[in-house]
Subunit: 276 residues, 2 copies
Amino acid sequence: MKVGIVGLGLMGGSFALALRACYDDVEILGYDHNDQHCIEALETHIVDKITDELEDFADLDLIVLAIPVDGIVAVTQKLTFLSEKTTVMDFGSTKKVIIDAVPASIRKNFIAAHPMTGTEKSGPSAAFSDLYRGKVVVLCNVEESGEAQQKLAKKIFTDLGMKIFYMDAQEHDRHAAFISHMPHAMSYALANAVMKQENPKAIIALAGGGFRDMSRIAKSSPNMWTDVFRQNRDNLILAIECFKGELERCETLVAQERWDELYNWMEKANDLHRIL
Amino acid sequence: MKVGIVGLGLMGGSFALALRACYDDVEILGYDHNDQHCIEALETHIVDKITDELEDFADLDLIVLAIPVDGIVAVTQKLTFLSEKTTVMDFGSTKKVIIDAVPASIRKNFIAAHPMTGTEKSGPSAAFSDLYRGKVVVLCNVEESGEAQQKLAKKIFTDLGMKIFYMDAQEHDRHAAFISHMPHAMSYALANAVMKQENPKAIIALAGGGFRDMSRIAKSSPNMWTDVFRQNRDNLILAIECFKGELERCETLVAQERWDELYNWMEKANDLHRIL
């Protein structure tokens, strides 16, 4: 299988490593604006070759777009030279804006995928072959993709040990705002709230596991997340408003010393873990 | 060393196991309102004996109060029969209310400690001997404790591989509100915000590592945390207000499409991890 990967960071790099671990016959061509990433990806055998011409991707079986979501929109505009057989998948955290932007002439080539995995780290050095194993991948609006493309995507994600969910792009974006985008806003806000205090070092010295967990994703790339927030603006604002409502509920119960109601509010939150 | 442990849950149980792993000559007497906890603690050799009379603790070397913070206040009132040599330590997440409540006659016996560790689990079955290793413990207002008590506490925490910080109780409570109490409020609020949506199961099915981390401490005991929020009410409200200010800043930048400023705001949050 001939594969092209656009974006040789954590997601793209790990996907390349996962494909290599899964299949014998994988040949990987890489593309990245960052020269250092290209060098590292060659050195660590994430890719076999590097190109700086997207046209070199014309005859590949599979192209993976593992770059920030605005980049995905930009690159898909340039892929109109693709042959019918090629499958293009994007790994963006938003889906509606991306799908709407795919040129009609390559819409059948396109699979809109969102693998629900990642770490707070970035770059090819953060890549590892097990990033996708056991994780969920959401495929959106697959009925608009070609049959061969649907089949290939399903085969690859299954072979990599992923659990596939099918979803409408709008529904995905609403859910993703709650489960991923808004929690990133929370984590960034927590980090900034602490850093603004008089003596952040003295506060942070006391960090236990709870704070480490809550602030971990505040390490995430501003580049990637500014794009996500822009593309999923309305859903994000809605999710922040819902969350703020709950936090203000807590604050009110504390301020008004309504301890029994606070207890019940916390107990209701415990319920999440009966589902999760 | 003869040790009494009040509260045979995660914290008390793990401390017993840690002492046993560290010293040869430890004899542990346990006390817990929950009969099932007492049985489990005996079965798993967390304690050697169980008592339901606090008076049996009169001649011990060390008493550890590993119970919710309101319980700590209540129990300390009953410990006025202690001999001069005994050291009493509490492991509560708040310090000022507890220290203020210690009867003057046993103030020298008392060490106010806050080990910055834990998990979202509870009960003796969650206990493990390494819970304290490598973690921070904050000791507050130690100058009010007896010299023998200070020495014993310092020796034990050092022997267990902990890093000791000394702090004024008020300063501790302010810092703890930011680093621990408010993040718990955030996590509970996140869980409740998601659970209130139309189809929480469909949302939660998409949970990746970020959401799992952000919602983990929403599993925590409402019993324990209602007490903490009550005892640290003012600092908690202040911390929630600071956090809300940052979250609203994010929301405004998104709503007004001020993407460059959003990028900078995220980049500032990244700074936390240069300290953490």
